[in-house]
Symmetry: C2
Subunit: 206 residues, 2 copies
DNA sequence: GTCTATACGCAGATAGAC
DNA sequence: GTCTATCTGCGTATAGAC
């Protein structure tokens, strides 16, 4: 339960790590301040001493999560790679990250309901702008490389196909894989290739 | 708040309607027994008299929801229509239903986390069987109509593309549509055509 | 800064009169 | 069956000693 390896590391960071772990596993509602305190090896009172309340602690974690994910995606979008290649990279980044943090989707979905503007602001502040993506897609369409499409439909489809399976995992693994975890892993790994080829095939101009 | 139109209708049904409305709006955690009681025009005690506890009441609603949705999908799958046409019908059914009940995804996602086996049992009892779907797809592949694919990838993609946008709506509508509800509606309406053509294009044998 | 003990509020559930 | 009043437990948050 308690595992403080570097004792000299300051408590704030320890709490942060504990909170990240618990929030990611249980989501906002499921997370208990007591559990976070235990995980950090302190008591609830001290937890509230450092972070006034649950909401503030949560936001701090969520902010951190967004700050590590968004720049990666942003960099790819800004790059001068071809559209199809961008899709491949983004898919891989997304799925790899979700594999390591299987509870992230529920975490995000919760936050999407309660603080959508927070996420959107973050995206925009980091320079991720729908109109930019649209412009890039348009360029390739004009070159005759891609079919004419509403980029928003493609965008929404991409993130849906990456994120949703993790949220629905408890059901899918039963329904499609007889609760075989290894099969599920293989499925997810294959998905990294399936999604890009699925999208690219569909958008290919002919 | 209270709106009992047919007074002679028995209370159980009234409670059921109230509970459906509240659970769909607020999800399991967000729903309050008090609110359901108010909506039904009774008090909490009576609520517990009819349905012993919150969990039982919820399951009753959830069961009803599955019973109306699954048979529709099942019927389409059983039918002798072509694969591409089935995708069209299922997409339309799904999205139309989600449009009317925008909170259903959160509702389902909650249940997927806590009682996955309940959903899977229901699916199987109603004759929806992955191997059947697979067999159908395989037939068309052998006829040279479709490309060789893992049907599970397609299946998961289909439901992801239909359901996830509704769960992520609060964010998407801000990010892509400047909170313009009419634009969102148009987007969703177009999605009924986009998804099938997206899938069918991608799977087409060439 | 860190602890123990406790206050407070909420929501689900029940007792018991009618 | 239906109500009012109340219990209970839990989880966040705080008071106050050290």
């Amino acid at each position: 339960m308690v595992k403080i390896k570097e004792k000299d590391r300051n408590i704030e960071a320890t709490i942060h790590n504990a909170a990240r772990s618990v929030f990611l596993k249980k989501g906002y509602d499921g997370a208990r301040m007591q559990e976070i305190a235990d995980e950090a090896g302190i008591n609830k009172a001290l937890l509230h001493y450092y972070f006034r309340n649950k909401e503030k602690l949560f936001m701090s974690i969520f902010d951190e999560a967004l700050n590590t994910l968004i720049p990666k995606i942003g960099a790819v979008i800004q790059s001068d790679k071809r559209f199809s290649e961008k899709i491949e990279i983004i898919t891989d980044a997304y799925i790899s990250m979700l594999k390591q943090n299987p509870y992230l989707p529920m975490f995000v979905i919760h936050e999407v309901q309660s603080h959508p503007e927070f996420i959107v602001d973050k995206l925009q502040n980091m320079g991720i702008d729908p109109s930019k993506i649209q412009k890039q897609l348009k360029t390739e369409v004009e070159k005759g490389l891609l079919k004419q499409v509403d980029f928003r439909q493609v965008f929404v489809s991409l993130i849906s196909m990456c994120i949703f399976p993790f949220a629905a995992k408890p059901m899918l693994i039963k329904f499609l894989f007889n609760d075989n975890e290894a099969e599920w892993d293989k499925f997810i790994e294959e998905r990294k290739k399936f999604i890009p080829s699925f999208i690219n095939e569909s958008l290919k101009a002919r």
